[in-house]
Symmetry: C2
Subunit: 159 residues, 2 copies
DNA sequence: GTATCCATACTCGGATAGTGGTTGTCCGAGTTGCTGGGG
DNA sequence: CCCCAGCAACTCGGACAACCACTATCCGAGTATGGATAC
């Protein structure tokens, strides 16, 4: 089980967009993080489709957050990029084979399915409890407000 | 993000081995669940490597649990089959690009890494809180003790 | 009748191909800002 | 001096290959069982 590596990039971009007050192009974000611009664009498109960021075309276009960072959770970003499908897919093994359970007994999810779903929900709840604003607060608290200002200045400066 | 489908098979096998009091061959378990015998063998080998089941060769060989079901958690099975590696891999994006953080500032994990690790730990804790014995108890409570007896009888009967 | 030996059949275990999904890339459609000219 | 049209450059968005992990399979190594045989 491996999560898409683009999730990390998307989260870093969300953090950067918190600092910026202008729309920032995908190429700029890619240069800042030293990652593939083409592939990062794909993640940003996914976030745009999910409604987390707004895209603007044209000369001074780019991406910007649609909501305050305090209203965007880490789970929002993860689900936007990695998809909302749970990692575990129950194939109803109990309904197959010579000992197949009766269809009416399979009305409710099996015990295994419930355990996996509960774990998945715990994972999601943990990610839902952290917002992008929380991340920036942690960074500021540990490394000072200079980091945020540095990002803002770099994004505002020309190439 | 998608978990290996073999995890579900392995959990069903663990449940079946709880009912059986003899070693059960991989082919038998595959026939019972109507799944590929060759591929199920791979999952059982992984469980054997993890020490969850003991394998016996020869005419009346097969697999059997090494511990009481109450001492085997769902997490044990998941980690045995799917690997113990966390789904999220931090590639230290903050240490790259023109705004790279200083190496000594990267001594501690970044905020994103921490959030993902916390969620992963919540997921693991949820899976760790459920044992195979809990699963059998749930099945017995919902569908009666006949299910377990049926599995035992079928596994004891000849082909 | 009993112990021993052997052939047999059954088991696991790891090495070997096929396939779907993630990763990475590219080019076209659309929009904005700027520049030059005209009134 | 102000307004407008045209241009050019920059942006996003989706369509197109390459690589890797999961899926599925096969055959060889090893061992307990059962029967036949000798004592």
């Amino acid at each position: 089980m491996k999560m898409s590596g683009g999730v990390e990039w998307a989260l870093h971009c969300a953090f950067a967009l918190t600092a910026a007050d202008h729309p920032v192009s995908a190429a700029r974000l890619a240069e800042m993080h030293d990652v593939s611009a083409s592939y990062l664009a794909k993640q940003l498109q996914a976030m745009s489709r999910a409604g987390l960021v707004r895209s603007a075309q044209g000369h001074a276009g780019g991406y910007e957050l649609t909501r305050p960072p305090s209203e965007i959770t880490v789970l929002d970003v993860v689900e936007a990029v990695d998809g909302p499908t749970p990692a575990f897919l129950c194939t109803d093994v109990r309904a197959r084979g010579p000992l197949a359970a009766s269809p009416e007994a399979c009305r409710t999810p099996c015990a295994i399915h419930r355990a996996m779903t509960a774990a998945d929900e715990a994972w999601r709840a943990s990610l839902r409890s952290v917002t992008i604003a929380d991340l920036t607060a942690q960074v500021t608290g540990e490394h000072g407000p200079g980091v945020l200002a540095g990002v803002r200045n770099w994004l505002a400066s020309a190439t």
